[in-house]
């Protein structure tokens, strides 16, 4: 039922974590019957009378709380960001196709994230951590505007201590002490130890950053079928009804948001498609 699908159900905020300026993570107790989301899927979060926004799942805790990391970007996120523990917001989901964590079994995984783009990739890191033996090397390249904009600072460094994992950080502009790279996150690609033969790359960030990343990955020998990216488009329904998220013939909400590059390449690179 279309209405049924468009009805937000109440979820309770159990914890709120300030991540960075204007970025917060909300841990939600989901309503009954809500299916466990897969890495890369998103939910529609709704604030009563304010509106609804698609937000990726950024974690599922041991207690079953579902995390969403929200950056203030506009009308809805602004009000959402003000919510606190105990508040009730609406949710629908999970929606979309997630990251290819199954296809990547036995392979190396390269994560390239820019800014808030780390949020949808965090569940991948968790997944690999929990199923460490099933995967090869994990490389995480993460860039943000400045050190204080990096997400999950309280656990970021711990990623490096996951066995067989390389973590490289970059910022556009260093403020204060900073030992990592200054520049584009794509600059990290040649610095990392990546085996192009056995790597699956998962990218999320601004579209322009993803385009540069793909070019860099080509340079080190990755092929289209090894590259996955998560796209962003305007969405009013999240379930393939409203038409807004089309990119070429694809509905980003249901055919994506994660796409193999070979699959959408034909459209992805066309100006204002």
């Amino acid at each position: 039922m279309v209405e049924g699908r468009l009805i937000p159900k109440p979820a309770v905020i159990e914890d709120v974590v300030d991540e960075a300026p204007n970025v917060r993570t909300f841990y939600l107790r989901m309503p009954e019957g809500y299916p466990e989301p897969k890495p890369g899927q998103f939910n529609e979060l709704y604030v009563m009378g304010v509106g609804e926004v698609p937000i990726s799942v950024s974690d599922v805790t041991q207690e079953g709380l579902v995390a969403h990391t929200v950056r203030v970007a506009g009308r809805v996120t602004e009000v959402l960001a003000e919510a606190s523990v105990g508040d009730v917001i609406g949710v629908r989901g999970p929606y979309g196709k997630g990251w290819p964590v199954e296809q990547a079994v036995g392979k190396d995984v390269l994560i390239v994230a820019g800014g808030i783009g780390l949020a949808p990739l965090r569940p991948v890191i968790r997944h690999i951590e929990r199923n460490r033996a099933k995967y090869g090397k994990l490389t995480i390249l993460y860039g943000a505007r400045a050190p204080r904009h990096l997400l999950y600072k309280y656990e970021l460094e711990k990623y490096a201590s996951i066995p067989n994992t390389e973590l490289l950080l970059s910022v556009d502009k260093a403020e204060g002490p900073w030992e990592g790279h200054v520049g584009f996150v794509t600059d990290l690609i040649p610095k990392a130890d990546i085996d192009p033969e056995r790597t699956i790359a998962m990218i999320c960030g601004p579209e322009i950053m993803m385009k540069f990343t793909i070019k860099r990955l080509y340079e080190i020998g990755l092929k289209d079928n090894q590259i996955y990216l998560s796209l962003e488009r305007r969405m009013r329904c999240g379930v393939g009804l409203c038409g807004h998220c089309q990119m070429g013939p694809y509905f980003v909400c249901k055919h994506g948001p994660v796409f193999p590059h070979w699959f959408i390449k034909k459209y992805f690179w066309v100006e204002q498609i």
Partner: protein
């Protein structure tokens, strides 16, 4: 979600009072609304006035005298959200048509003692004087939009109202396009929705009281109107109405009138 009462002020500048009247025209909601909203300055409705700061100040009218310029600056300082309400406040209003004339001539044409009359060179939209947070368009503003705006502020969201072309609303409503079926010139394709497309509903073309829609292309409409046989001067007059001084329409008017001002 509703917290303390919202302090709302309504100020009048050069205008016809029609927009503030739209507030009083919300008969069905007025009494519920006053549970959540306190009109702390609204001369047309109340003798009692309270000083700022205001949560929301609605500005009706264009800025056309030096005193008004001063007053609107003061209001800006005292207001968290400043809303330009109506065609006068958002585009200078019908009185902005004088902006194409010389002020001296205008004064002399009207007043026996022109020197007594203080007026600015132009009748200006509020945004030309102070920062405007939101625009509620229309001549007058639509009371549905006004109400929706207030409700949105009450839940704490940045108000959102569609700003697309009137044609969309016109056709949703089931009107027959007057341009196509009757050959009546209509500004609907370049004017912002919000009125409920009433002119086409009542058999005439839109005369533009909601001003240019987001991404409006009046130049394309102008060339189409000329293509179907309208004279330049008539096309110019069509745009030169209640929102003629809006940037986009002004440009087309000036082109059609051959670069005058």
């Amino acid at each position: 979600m509703m917290r303390r009462k919202l302090k709302v002020a309504v100020f009048k500048f050069a205008s016809c009072s029609g927009c503030q009247l739209q507030i009083l025209n919300m008969e069905d909601e007025l009494l519920t609304l006053t549970d959540a909203v306190e009109f702390t300055y609204f001369l047309e409705a109340s003798r009692a006035t309270a000083p700022g700061p205001y949560d929301v100040a609605f500005i009706e009218g264009s800025i056309s005298t030096p005193e008004q310029e001063e007053l609107v600056r003061r209001v800006r300082e005292e207001s968290r959200i400043l809303v330009a309400m109506g065609a006068c406040a958002t585009a200078g209003g019908i009185q902005a048509l004088r902006n194409w004339l010389r002020l001296d001539d205008v004064k002399r044409a009207v007043y026996p003692n022109p020197e007594w009359v203080k007026a600015l060179e132009h009748s200006k939209p509020v945004a030309e004087v102070v920062k405007v947070d939101y625009e509620l368009r229309g001549c007058p503003v639509s009371k549905e939009r006004l109400l929706s705006f207030i409700k949105q502020v009450l839940v704490g969201r940045k108000p959102y109202l569609r700003r697309e072309a009137l044609c969309m609303d016109c056709r949703r409503k089931g009107n027959v396009c007057v341009m196509v079926a009757k050959g009546i010139p209509c500004l609907g394709p370049v004017v912002q929705e919000g009125c409920g497309a009433i002119c086409p509903t009542f058999g005439r073309g839109c005369y533009g009281c909601f001003g240019p829609s987001i991404d409006a292309r009046p130049e394309a409409l102008a060339s189409r109107l000329r293509e179907v046989g309208m004279k330049d001067r008539d096309v110019a007059r069509l745009f030169k109405g209640f929102t003629g001084w809006s940037e986009k329409f002004r440009k087309v008017i000036n082109e059609l009138e051959g670069g005058a001002r």
